[in-house]
Structures are given as C-alpha cells and as structure tokens.
Subunit: 284 residues, 4 copies
C-alpha cells in the first residue's frame, strides 16, 4: 500500500571525500528515492553534516534492519547518525509559569496540525494556564516550589511516565536542576527574551529599556548547565523607539518570543537541527 | 600545485531515483571532493535541480574532458547541465540612465572584490554617470537614442566586442529590442522599483504613493519580452508611512533597489540561479 | 478622585496657521494636560491632521460640554473632529469562515488585555470556530448563506442588537452587501492575504506561488465597495523561496495576516487611525 | 522673497502643562506657520521633549532676535533649547581606517544631495581611502599613530581649522582621547559592528561567529568616554545561518553598518536627535 511516509537520516562525521556518494548510493540500492538532501561542511572543525529525506514507499529496509545494513557505511566514515520517520510524533512537555502567549501559540498550532508532535503535558509552577491548556485537551499539572528534592522527583516522574522526548520551556521562570537539564541535553528548548548574548540573565526587557536599544529580540536555544549559553536555534527582533514604554516593549517582545520558540519546536520535531559544539546547524 | 579552485555543476532533469547517487558517484570516481551540494525538487513539474561544488585540486577531469565523460550520465537522466569554475570572472555590462545609486553600489563592491565578475563596460543613454564609472577604471560608452536601427547596432557591437556574458539594467529607463533581450535570455537582469507584480510598468513610486501602501519594494528579475514579467530573482521591501513624501519614498526605495540588484548579480555570477519556466531556483 | 483616563481628540481640517496653538491653548485653558500630540500635514491636499491625548483628571469639560465649547474653534478652522476616552471599549464583531489563526490571535490578546475593546460577537458562515470562540466566553452565531435578503437581515439585526462599533473580517470568505459595507464605512476592517495591490481578488497565495515571488504579504484595510481597494492600514511580508510549497506559503502567510490584522484592530480601537481619501494616517 | 527655509526648534524641559500651548502660541504670534511638530514625554524622569519645524517665510523673528524673545518662555518652563535652520549645512569630518564601505556610502549620498551637511574632511590613519575621498572632491588627511601628544594635536588643529560640527567614526579602528571625545560630546557618532550591548569591544564579528548567533547587527551611537556605551541612535540586523563563514558575516554586517551609520548622520544633521541621559529621542 502506498504511503507518503519518509525516512530521515541525520549524520555528522569528519569531512572526507565520498560521503554523499556512499550515503546516496546506499539509499538508492535499497530502493530509497531521495526527496530532499541538505548538507553542510564546518571548515573550522572539518566536520560534515547531512540530512536526507527519502520516500519509504518501496524502500526495502524497515527501521530495525536499517542500523544493521547502514553500520558498515557509518563505521567507514566515523559517523554519528540517527534516523526518524516523517510520521513520528515525538512526545512534548511544555513548562510554563504565568505568561501564556508562547503556550497559546504552541497549543493552537499543534491543534491545527502545524506542529508534527504530540503535546502530552503542560507543567506549570502556577495554575493560571490550566484552563487554556485543558481547553486544547492537554493534561495540565501544577508543580509548585523550587525544582529540588521532592519537586524534582515529581518532574522526573511526570516526564518519564509520559515518555517525553522534548521539553519546551515556554517562559518558565525557574531554573531546573543540572540533572534534569543533563537528561534532556539537546532535547530541552528555552526561549530567552533578549537577543543573546545581549542581556543574559534576569529582566532583559528592563535592561533593554534602560539601555535605550532600538531593537529588542528573543532567542530560542537548547538548554545547558550554563544559563542562556546553550546552542542558539533561532533569533528575531522587533523595532522599538523612545516612544515605547516598558509595557509596550514586553508586548512587542512577546511576539518575537513566540515566533522564535514556535520555529525552534517545529524544526526540532521535524528533525532539522543538529548540534555541533555550542552551535546549531538548522536545515530549515 | 594546490589550488582553491572549484568546479560547479548545475543541472536539471526529470525527477527520477538515483540522480544524487549517480552524480556524486561520478565526481567521487574522478577524484572530486564535494564541497557543497544543493538540490531541489519541483513537485508541480516533477523536475529535479542540483548544484554541486567540488575541489578541482586532485580532480582528474579537465573541463574539455568533463563533457565527454559526463555525457552518459546526463543522457541517462535527460539532464540539461552546465559547468563553471569558481575562478571564472564573467564579463558584465551595466546599462544606466541618470540614477547612479545602483551603479555606485555595484562598482564599489566590484572594486573591493565582493562580486566575482569583470565589469567591462557601462553603457549610458545619458552622460551623467561617466565620471563615477571612469573613477573605478571602467569604460563608459554613451549610446543615446531609442535602441533601434543604428543605436541597436551600436549596442550589439559593444556587447560583442567586450564578450559580455551578463547584462545588468541598473535603472536603465529604456526598453530594449526583443532581439537583444532574446540574445541575452537568462543573462539580462533588471531591477524594477516595485514589489512585483504590484505596480508593473511606469512610475511605480508615484503609484505606491497614491495608493497609500505601507511598504514599498524592489524586484530584480531576468528580462523577457514581457515587460516586468520575467523570472523573479530577489525582492525586498522598506517600511513607509503617511509621513513619507514621494521624495523620501524614492530615496528609501533606492536602498531596496540596490540591495536586490546587487544580490541578483552576485548570485548570477556565482552560478547560484537556475531558471525554470517563469520561476527561479536560487541556491543562495 | 484621581483617574488615569485620557481624552483623545482627532481632527482634520484645511492646513492653516494657528491650529496647534488654538487646540493646545483650548485644552490648556480647561485644565487639560497634553500627554501626547501627533500631527501630520498632507501637502497634496493641504490638509492638517491632529491627534491629541490629555489627562482627564482635572480637566474641566465633561464630554457633553466639550462639543459646545470646542465648536467655535472647530468652526474657525473648518475641522472635522471627534473625541473619545482611553477607557472606552468599543464593541467589536468578528466575521469568520473556517480559518481560525486570525481569530485565535484576536481572542487571546483580547483576553489578556492587549486590545482595548469588547469583542461581543463572532459570526461564522461555518461552525468550525464556535468552540474556540466560546472557550473565550464570546457569543458565536452561525449565519450561513449568501449575505442577501434574509441572511443580510440577520447580520444587520445581530450587529444592531449588540451595538457593534467595529466589524472585523478575519478571513471571512464572503462578500458583504454594499449596504452593510456602507453602514460600517471606516469601521469595517478586512485582512487580505497578499501585499496589495499585488494579487487583488481570489486565491492570492496560489497566484504568489505561480508567479514565483520571493516575499509574500498581507494587508489590513478598511472595506469599501471596491473589493480590496479600500484605505490600507498596515502591511507586512514574509520571505519565501523556491523551497516553499503552496502549503508552507499558506502557513507563513498566516503569520503575516494575523500580525497586520491585530495591529489594525489595536490602532483602530485606540483611535489612532484617520482616513483621508483612500489613504490612512496612522499615529501609531 | 519667498523661501522654503524652515526654522527648527529643539527643546527639553520638566514636563508641565502648557508647554505645547506656549511654544505654538509663541510661533503663531510671530508669524511662524508650524509645518511639523513632534513631542515626547519620558515618564521616568518627567521630561518633555519637543521638535518643531516652521516656515521662515513670513516669520518675523530673525535668529538673532529669536533668543531674546523666546527667553521668557524658555525660562518659565526651565527649557534647554536650540534652534537651527533646515538650510544649515553643518561641517562634517569622517575618520576612517582601511574599510571603505561606510565612507563610500556617505560620500555618494552626500554628493547626490541626500545628506544635508558639508563633508569637509576625511581623516585616515591609513592612506587606502584617499583616492575614493578625493574622487568626491573632499580633502583627505593622513594622520598616523596613536592619537596622543603630537597626533592628538594634529587632529584638534584639523577639526578646528575646518570648523567641524560633527565627527563621524566610519569604522575608525583607534580610540580617541577623552579630551577629543569630550569636546565633541553629542557631536561624535560611531558605528559599532554588533548589536549592542552584545559583543562590546574588539572583534564582534569573530565573537558572533563563535557564539553561533542567527542574526548579526550594527549600532550607531554617540561616542562617550565609555567604549561602546554611549547613547544608541540606530540599530539594525541581518540574518545569518550556519552556512555563513566569518567572511560572509563581515560582508553582510557591512551592509547593516553603513545603513545605521548613514541614518544616524542624516538624523543628526537634520536636527532630529535629542540626547537624554544615555538614551536618544529620535524624531525620525
């Protein structure tokens, strides 16, 4: 039976001749028709990155066999790689506090089918966003208190029991433990309300206002143990002027926040992002 | 002796499995290390587009032999293709009238090495821009009058004797003959001072001002016999408001014009553009 | 008792010396402290536009008396004028069909207090958006059929009984009668999913895709009897490339649509827009 | 004889009722027809800012008399103020090193009349940009060495003898003495090649590249003793991706640099900027 499902292969390896030929040859041999290929060379580290999408209709290697057959190619070039299918719907948990503009955008787009993932859970350290979440038919859990000891335990349990693949911090105003951050390395996305590395840390809008900048920004990035220092996925800016009050800066900045967070989540669940050191390669 | 020169292959063909594997295999066999590959599938026409760059150092097929060896591959897939080298410097002629902002930008960037081409000739139907052109050491020719008969002959002669590969209309306010346009099909770039298809034809800024638009634009495109209807290469916009006079619209629009024209020229001479029907595929 | 309420005066008149002095003098005499003043001169028609905001705390002219006292000033300069208060919450009705992205944005922002109006009613010609509307506690009315005869009557009745000041067409895919449009002249805002005047009329995204444009746009404008020809309030664009399918163009364009429509509604209900001929003056 | 010349009044004072009425009344009394008025209130410091333009044709107060007549109004409200005429052409000196993209843009726009100032002098600490400068008929002076002692003396002498009102640092890669900076307080504009306050200090493009940002920026600001900390006039950004090399970041950033520097110079010489603490009010 025909299907529109696609295989997606992401790989990185030392940059040597023959990678494209080997990978495309491998897929061709097994009946995989390449639908899209993107690649990148990082000249500083001599690393090669590739993302290939191919039709699974007629492809003769079901996922369990793929690894076995692909392994010799991967070994030859020293590849790190992973595969996914375009029909996958990774499980997502969203952490929130009181501000709902990012959450509202994610939930709405999820509902109309713009985000190929399954939002399974919203965790709030306040109860304000329960109603909005539940309207969209998503479970809301209130987990108050500093994420340590018992609270930390609750978070782990919730994420584990829902089989969460991606954690999204949608203006969650609390710092998570290094353990949790470590467990979701490369799978936890935050939005910071400034154009990083400007205004790292607390109250970036206040400091933007005080500095008198003419553009304000927002940044989505993978979370690492270093606050606001993780690999940047996307950034955007909005023009402001002397006329803007702190209040209007917050409002306008919110539009940039939800835009960069939504794009980051989409690219992540579409398997378009590869992390390399502290940078991202985004095949958008 | 080591070189940084690169081969560039551009091709389009019916979309069938195996193109990537064949092309990358072909290059690999002949010692070509792929440095960058971009591809695109047009689902409407089932056409496949590819642009590959590879290192010529160690590549065993000099250009004259490339065609002979590549022909079987090309025939198998029904490819249209061409090759170039990154060290090529195509000959460029720029047509101007009185406005110099696009010309000044092209000449300056050419001089500092940002445009990998050889600007050989500026042809004006007014003499205003002679001094600017000659300052940059470029030949300026005044060719007055409607481009018909004798005038048309002069233009042809000038372009032929300078071996011009690309004609750039940098706010040239005259319509060229279909013969000249046909001769430079896919090799003649114009900038139109509107966001096409809005305000096709004469006086787009006046009409933008009268319509009360809130953004004005500029479009660079390949010239075809149909005025302002050719394949669009690049577009950009600038915000305006009720405060803008026609004069300030002209000034702000000029910034968009030179931006889209310069990008189009760069992409063209870097062999990044493929025309397909009335659209462009730009591997920027 | 102290209040933060502000008076807002909007006026236009033939451009003659002394308007600023007269208006600011008038407000000063009656204890009105000007908080913000914006003005504009249209040189083509020699028309002067002004918007003044002043504190009502201590202002000695309650609205009913304002007209009587201001009339001599207005008459002297031949002004058209109106006043409002920043605490006013005009009644808004939103017309929709099936696409909910603009509606979702308006409802969410309305709920969190970003839009100083009262959304009283959503009228759909399909029932898809009822749930979303009702979640936000707003009345939803299904009015199917061509807006003629009986249907037209229902629309009039609904708008009248809810005392609607502003009608917002949020991707409402039906044409309203000239009578209804006339009744809401300068008080009915539409969003068109193109960068007007490009792609007037039906299926602008399809035509954008076919034309191969590199930017797609959206336009919010007041509705007039001439389809897509009314005074433009706001426009925005999103970059696309040959990679974009019609589907992704629709998605990206949707972001521009909701942005320009939300801004237009905010500016309208904040009394920031003045219509002059077929243009708008927006004191944003 | 009729003239198009305009008077421009810039003022700031504590925010009290009656300023607009007093100023507009004053101008009206003396036959000044207000052509444009902009104002701003800073709520943090309760400061009021105003910029008024009025026609000098028929205005009965020549500049020498203006101060005498206006002084009582100014004293009443505690104003700091200055006047200028739209026909003024302030003297400008541009400091450069080797990069010419900002200089080329300023010189070209100056020549075609887009910048209402008189560029009198270009001072380089290298000789590379002499030819470009002299082509535009502007004097070029080479002043090598650290700006101390003798060198500092040369700079002062050059600026003094040319009666320079505004110093523009167009990618001048040397730090000026506090004395020179102090002498040109509010009259010396620099362009920094980052989105301040990100990447203050040396090599911002290198650091942008290393951090993996997705937008790069440029900032024009008034120079103060604190490096890169002065009042920001304008900022802009350009999108980059993992594909961008340091070289292409430098090229793309250069476009943002010249854009923000040219705008800052235009606004300054058009008397549109007021400095307040470490911020600017720009009536653009």
């Amino acid at each position: 039976m025909a299907t529109n499902d696609r295989g997606i292969l992401l790989l990185q390896c030392p940059d040597r001749p023959g990678v494209v030929a080997s990978v495309s040859g491998f897929l061709y041999e097994h009946g995989g028709d390449i639908i899209r290929a993107d690649e990148h060379r990082d000249p500083d580290s001599d690393t090669y990155f590739m993302r290939v999408e191919w039709g699974l209709d007629g492809f003769q290697l079901p996922p369990p066999d793929f690894a076995r057959e692909f392994e010799p190619v991967a070994r030859e070039f020293g590849m790190q790689w992973r595969i996914a299918k375009s029909s996958d719907r990774p499980g997502v948990a969203i952490f929130v506090s009181k501000s709902g503009h990012c959450l509202a955008d994610l939930l709405y787009r999820h509902q109309i089918g713009e985000l190929p993932c399954q939002i399974k859970l919203v965790i709030g350290n306040h109860d304000e966003l329960r109603k909005l979440t539940e309207f969209y038919g998503i479970r809301f859990e209130l987990v108050r208190g500093t994420p340590k000891g018992e609270v930390e335990g609750s978070l782990h349990r919730l994420l584990d029991e829902s089989a969460i693949d991606l954690v999204v911090l949608a203006r969650y105003m609390q710092i998570l433990s290094d353990v949790l951050v470590g467990q979701y390395a490369g799978r936890m996305i935050n939005v910071h309300h400034s154009f990083l590395p400007a205004f790292v840390g607390a109250k970036p809008y206040h400091r933007s206002y005080e500095r008198g900048v003419k553009l304000i920004g927002a940044t989505s990035h993978y979370v690492t143990a270093q606050l606001d220092e993780g690999p940047i996925i996307e950034q955007d800016v909005v023009r402001v002027s002397h006329r803007d009050s702190l209040e209007s800066i917050v409002r306008k900045g919110g539009d940039a926040e939800r835009a960069v967070l939504t794009r980051a989540v989409r690219w992540h669940v579409e398997n378009r992002i590869m992390v390399h050191g502290n940078k991202t390669v985004v095949f958008s």
